[in-house]
């Protein structure tokens, strides 16, 4: 396959970036998208040019490191996967592919396609945990039965990989899906209910401080989420927050 790539290049956080065009051949349809970028980078290095910086790590769709807005969609045109799981067979010979970093005020660009997503960490730090110590001297795990349905729902909320696709896809760059997934996980479990009010208030407060946009309920986040995190979580957070605010 031969492809034309239009890639955002930006030297560092302060520099002004621009789109650059690269041509690449010898792309196999069995390659993953990131392997295609590896090939591009190796050729750039051999030509004495600077390779394109992009975030990636586990390359199996679970660490949430890879990002990229590919042809206008986070993680590209396929559904239910991350960029590292996107394969070139989804593209056609001769295609032009536009590759940009995730864009949000709360995700400043560090270099090329790499963005800083620590705002997500700070939201978690504000209250995304259950305040138990780590002594292990807690009660026996089975002394607290949890309805399977609740445990499963909490699990599905907890499968969020924190990649930021929800923010990237949202026309408002809102972090509601991310924040609500964590709030939901904890709110659904009896262990987490105890400090549910403080948690939701603190996490939303931090989310606002980070400069994310508001939720317009367009549903783009749910569709682009590689893990299919449900909008139900956003509603649950709305509910939890309302409860906590009127208390």
């Amino acid at each position: 396959m031969k492809l034309t790539l239009k890639i955002w290049r930006q030297k560092n956080a302060k520099a002004k970036g621009s789109m650059q065009t690269y041509n690449i051949s010898d792309v196999s349809p069995d390659m993953s998208f990131l392997e295609m970028l590896d090939v591009l980078n190796d050729s750039l290095i051999e030509k004495g040019e600077e390779p394109v910086e992009f975030d990636h790590d586990c390359r199996e769709g679970i660490c949430g490191t890879c990002s990229l807005q590919i042809n206008g969609e986070p993680h590209g045109p396929d559904r239910g996967i991350t960029t590292c799981q996107l394969h070139m067979r989804k593209f056609k010979d001769g295609d032009t592919i536009v590759i940009e970093p995730f864009r949000a005020a709360a995700f400043p660009v560090i270099k090329d396609l790499v963005v800083d997503r620590n705002s997500f960490d700070r939201i978690q730090q504000a209250g995304g945990y259950i305040s138990v110590n780590t002594s292990g001297n807690t009660q026996d795990a089975n002394s607290l039965p949890i309805p399977k349905e609740d445990a499963d729902m909490a699990f599905y909320a907890a499968t969020c990989i924190g990649c930021g696709a929800c923010v990237a896809a949202c026309k408002n760059a809102s972090a509601m899906l991310f924040t609500s997934a964590k709030v939901s996980q904890m709110a659904l479990l009896p262990q987490g209910k105890i400090e549910a009010s403080e948690r939701v208030l603190a996490m939303v407060d931090q989310m606002d401080k980070e400069g994310f946009g508001n939720c317009t309920n367009t549903g783009a986040c749910e569709i682009e989420c590689p893990k299919g995190i449900s909008l139900e979580n956003i509603a649950r957070m709305n509910r939890e927050y309302l409860k906590a605010s009127v208390k």
Binding site: G72, E73, S174, D205, F212, N214, T218, E232, S245
Partner: protein, 236 residues
Amino acid sequence: MAKSALLKSSLAKKYWMAFTGLFLCTFLVGHLLGNLQLLLPVSEAARDQFNEYALFMTTNPAVMILSYVTYISILFHAIDGIVLTVRNRKARPQKYVNFKPSTNTRWASRNMGILGTVILVFIVIHMQMFWAEMKFGSLEAYSTASGAQVKDLYTLTIQSFQDAEYGLIWVIVYVISMIAIAFHLSHGFASGFQSLGVNHPKYNNFIKKFGYAFAILIPLAFAIIPIYIHFGLEKI
């Protein structure tokens, strides 16, 4: 914290948006029921009935409170919408070169602001045409059969849409506005519930379908009125 949270936070702004929006939905129903009287065959009785209804709606204290709440809701809904939009814009200062939201969202959900603006402009025109005319204009008062002193809003309304020169234009303006309202509601109705945290797999489908039905039927019924007056109703 809790108190300021209910005013300042991003979620609170959405609660108010949803709350005022859903309230305005109920207003639409009431307003429509009243307006359906305009579809009655032209007669003295129809004229009296509508004008007495109009008088009641503008003088009854309870209704007046309700209408002030409605005005405030509209204003709040609009201002809150602007505030939210400004913040949303700020959340992505650098735009994408290539952004394809059409692959994952419906058009109406992305253009609530534009639709809302169209609707706001319509509301101003609509109030200027009738409410302001009745309140401050030179509408003549007369005595109905039951002896009430009323202004003849009925004739003004019917004539506006039957006007030889402008009637059709008004009909088109109204129909377009109703389409805007329909799109606005098609997203706004269910979205309001979602913002207020009403989301349950059992009822979601119902809320969505009800929302779509509401978004189609209410504006459609509203739109039928000027169309019927222009094309169907006996000329006065």
